[in-house]
């Protein structure tokens, strides 16, 4: 059964100017679905539709077989966790307070997550490598640490899908790699499915190289131009069409393991 399916979904803020049109895809268990496309192609608006933040003009979205419009927030949280691209920090909560919020859907109305739920949050924190961070103020963390905390919160939420909007934006190489390793672990060991919007094409190859079941949707001007494995979709021709750039694709053989990668060369005038 598909965990999430979009059927011919279209949306625009004005009726005659669609942001995206006729988008259809399905997510099954244990896979990563990367949405790749240039700035302004409609990725974020599409994510908003999946989150139920806007109502599609046509088509419909199903989460575990239930129409999104009829889904209660609690039920939604059991199915989809969300990690924003830019988390806006207002109050200096402790790291544990943040991660515990992942258990909100398990708490009864008018109550906070209980001690057992707090314990679960601590476990999630340890699993992303931040054991001992629980009493730190989350406003004082580095960008990389904050992203790991938000991943811990999603992990604690125990939803089937984690939706990440550019999970490695603003991160250094080391933290980018950390996030990619955790994503691999989440899918392969914990059975999560992941939808991620990203600008880093090599991340799709990273996942494919690591043996994660990965699909890429190449999005441009509000439609999916191609959907398939990274090797199928991310070709010189398709990238030339969508990004208007010349690229070079290569394979390294470090440690005796073949890894594909991509290098942008120049813009097409």
């Amino acid at each position: 059964m598909s965990l999430l399916s979009l059927h011919e979904v279209s949306f625009g803020y004005q009726a005659d100017r669609p942001i995206f049109e006729n988008i259809s895809f399905e997510i099954g268990p244990g896979e990563v679905f990367c949405i790749i496309g240039p700035n302004g192609c409609g990725k974020t608006t599409l994510i908003d539709s999946v989150l139920g933040m806007n109502q599609p003009q046509s088509g419909h979205i199903e989460v575990s077989g239930t129409d999104l419009r009829r889904m209660k927030p609690r039920e939604f949280a059991e199915n989809i966790a969300y990690i924003p691209q830019n988390h806006v920090k207002t109050f200096p909560y402790s790291v544990l307070d943040i991660v515990v919020m992942g258990r909100t859907h398990a708490a009864r109305m008018f109550t906070a997550p209980n001690a057992a739920e707090r314990h679960r949050a601590l476990e999630s924190l340890a699993q992303v490598g931040l054991a001992g961070f629980e009493d730190r103020l989350y406003t004082e963390l580095s960008g990389g640490e904050l992203q790991l905390v938000l991943i811990a919160r999603a992990l604690a939420q125990e939803s089937r899908i984690i939706l990440m909007d550019e999970p490695t934006a603003h991160l250094d190489f080391r933290h980018e790699l950390m996030v990619m390793e955790i994503i691999t672990w989440l899918v392969q060991e914990k059975g999560f499915s992941i939808i991620m919007a990203t600008h880093f094409l090599n991340q799709a190859f990273y996942l494919e190289n690591a043996g994660v079941k990965t699909r890429v949707a190449l999005m441009n001007q509000g439609t999916f131009k191609a959907v398939g494995t990274p090797t199928e979709v991310l070709t010189k021709d398709s990238l030339k069409d969508v990004f208007r750039i010349i690229t070079s694709l290569g394979i390294t053989n470090e440690d005796g393991i073949c890894r594909k990668y991509i290098v942008p060369l120049k813009n097409i005038r």
Binding site: D48, L51, G52, M53, K72, P73, R74, F76, A77, E78, I80, A81, Y82, P84, H87, V88, T90, F91, P92, Y93, S94, D97, M101, G102, T104, H105, A107, F110, T111, A112, L137, Q157, L163
Partner: protein, 337 residues
Amino acid sequence: MTQKKKTVVAAVLVVLPVVFFFGTICIGRYYVSLTDVWLGLWQGITGRSSGLSTETAAVVLQIRLPRAFLGAMVGAALAASGAAFQGLFRNPLVSSGILGVSSGAGFGAALAIVLFNSIFLTPVFAFIFGMAAVVLSYFAGRIDNTSPTITLVLGGTIIQSIFSALISLLKYMADTSTQLPAITFWLMGSLASTKTADVLLAFIPMVLGMLGLLLMRYRLNVLSMGDREAKTLGINVNGNKAFIIASATLATAGAVCVSGVVGWIGLIIPHVARMLVGNDNKWVVPASMSLGACFVIFCDTICRTLTGGEIPLGIITALIGGPFFIYLLKKTKGRNW
């Protein structure tokens, strides 16, 4: 914070309002000893004479007890609403008046003073217009059946300025020898005219509102993550917002209609609470109630004892609250803020 320190802070927050409550009943032009306060209260509860002079019993039961009680309730209600709105609007600089409840109540009170010159109708009008202003702000900020934070704040700002203009208009039209001073005094806030009837009138909305905020206090943490995240964490964002706004408005309108517009409390007390207990709203809301109650009782005691007359409460809360907050800010270096 260690468990031991937590327990100490919690104990202090429970005991402190009780100390202030009995303290303020003792203090004044007419000094009443703590024993006499007990005897007076006992007499009030049981209805049997406890051998106090009628004078002392009257001061305790009819003047200071309702005033102390109302002060505690007003402080707790304003501080809790302020804490709730700061969390809800994700902005540490908003106070309980952000959606126009104070301006609306001020207009209602001024209207009652100009039209009827009635002591009974003033709080009733204040309450009704305070609630009405928030309902207007809420619907002004609604867009396509959702209530985004930013448009709610904008709606509130607009309604606030409309009611401020209407207050100015009423002041302009008011009789300068009788009505204008009454309006001005009301707008500065005071507990001086407290009567038992007021306490009973304002008690119900304040208790209902504070109860609502206590029930929703954990949800404030989640809502302060922003609409998108709150929704995906499993919360009905619009429903929860409406419930919190309704609760905070009931509490604030209940407070404002009997005390007038008392500034500062809803803005500052939640920050003092955060410095003491951290940012988890599970603790911030009750701590704000305790500190708000103490602060208003303290300021009101100064209002009625410092001079022969009455100083408006709003003046004292700002004059004491301002420097105290600067002191706290320097001491904590703004870290927990």
